[in-house]
Amino acid sequence: MATASSKQFDVYNRPMRLKVIDKGRGLKLLQRLQILPIRMAAGNYPSPHLVLSYRRDLYGRWFVRFLQRAMRQSSEWNKGELELFAAFTAKQLACDY
């Protein structure tokens, strides 16, 4: 797998996001109430949370549970080590972490 380089980014194009996810269409009332104060205070809401909140029954609910299991309930590695693995992997794939 090729390692990503920051030079490969097209700086004239900002990262995209689907409008259905950005607008929170389909979110339940409780989810909207959770997001609203954060958006009002910070001006935005973390996009990974929005992705995982949109149509949770298809993907987000199960992925979050797996993430919780892998990142917080591991018996072999401590949280710091796991965060380091995740940060390194994200760096290799040129993802924000």
Binding site: L18, L58, A94
Partner: protein, 145 residues
């Protein structure tokens, strides 16, 4: 984990060729149980795409990330195939214009969302599978590592 047990039974009932290769690891490692649930949901819930389409996308993304599964992408339109390839191999290069190309082809945002989920799942699970296979080989003493 009662739910996982039911899902495992359901997967075991499918033909071996249709069984996702990740299930071999899920069966062996209870920690991966939620991946089984995720796969079951991804390949059964109806949406803008059919579960079969999502399966094709997931297989294509997995093959591009080193999986030895057979790739049957003839059902995918060229614009979708191009997008899946980009998400699977170099997701950091996805831009607004890639999404616009999908929209211009008449695809809904829900369709794009589901294709993206299937592609990312295929790509990530193929990498996980490769890692777990290496661990198995190390345990058996057959690895160069």
């Amino acid at each position: 984990m009662k739910k996982n047990g039911k899902m495992k039974q359901k997967q075991e009932g499918t033909a071996p060729a249709d069984r996702h290769p990740m299930w071999r690891h899920v069966d062996a490692l209870p920690e991966l149980g939620m991946i089984g649930t995720l796969l079951e949901r991804l390949f059964s819930v109806e949406g803008a795409t059919t579960p079969a389409e999502r399966r094709v996308v997931e297989e294509r993304a997995a093959c591009l990330n080193g999986s030895d599964r057979s790739m049957n992408s003839s059902e995918l339109s060229p614009v979708v195939a191009k997008y899946v390839d980009k998400v699977a191999v170099e997701a950091y290069k996805v831009l607004d214009r890639d999404i616009d190309a999908m929209r211009d082809a008449g695809l809904s945002e829900d369709y794009i969302h589901e294709v993206t989920l299937a592609a990312t799942t295929g790509a990530s699970l193929a990498r996980l599978e490769r890692g777990l296979t290496i661990l198995e080989e190390v345990e058996r003493g057959n690895s160069q590592f």
